[in-house]
Symmetry: C2
Subunit: 114 residues, 2 copies
DNA sequence: TTCATATGCAACCTCCTGGTTGCACAATAG
DNA sequence: CTATTGTGCAACCAGGAGGTTGCATATGAA
């Protein structure tokens, strides 16, 4: 068994806190869905249609980037952002860890009741 | 198709922001793993072994409860907390939505390169 | 060159979050 | 009854998050 999963199972889950925190904002989720269409999008275009300032959007993108969910590549005068697949998969796996234990608990409970 | 999934796919994702926000804290993730063992645990016992105050733990539990991830039931003088399975599953499904689109994008990209 | 576009940086503001302390109160234990 | 245990509530505090504005700068277009 790997060291991470041996130690009470909580450590590798706790590692994902920054990712979840980055996901815990409606504006940022909106940005992610815009980016999930696949093309690289500039900050200006990501700001279009939002009530927020370009600077606000920039800050949100920074948060997403620090969490590793997104990456910005420079092209000419614009900064194009694209999704970064791996961390999200990891977060999903982390949720799997809890809900799997959860399921076991429920199954145990159910068999106890029946 | 449901109304939620029809509207640009982003709305039902954005609904999960509070859940992700609740998950975005190391202390709360630790609490969740403690609770994922299945038994109902009192605030006092959840506080044991932590460097934080009971009040701090209480506040975190409140956040988890407001996000619907946890539920407190009163027994005598103590407040026992237990997990609430459904919202977490929903959050996981929400992540699935992004990463599935993501995968499609990557697949498209790959087939384009090859 | 000259103008417009896309961004970056920094200062500033307000409000929420995470944490503490102190006190009051209900429920058990002896 | 009295002491102890488990909570709840409120006030308070420091720091960070989200947002704005103003200005500087690089690139592209004409």
């Amino acid at each position: 068994m790997s060291p991470a999963s041996r130690e009470s199972g909580g450590r590798d889950l706790r590692r994902n806190a920054p990712i979840f925190a980055a996901l815990g904002d409606a504006t940022r989720l909106k940005l992610l869905t815009k980016l999930s269409r696949g093309s690289r999008v500039s900050i200006a275009r990501l700001t279009e249609g939002s009530t927020l300032t370009r600077q606000a959007i920039t800050k949100h993108l920074r948060v997403l980037q620090d969490a590793g969910l997104v990456r910005g590549v420079r092209r000419g005068r614009e900064n194009l952002f694209e999704l970064e697949p791996e961390p999200l998969d990891e977060a999903r796996r982390a949720l799997d860890v809890i809900s799997r234990q959860w399921d076991q608990v429920l199954a145990r409970l159910k068999s106890f009741v029946e």
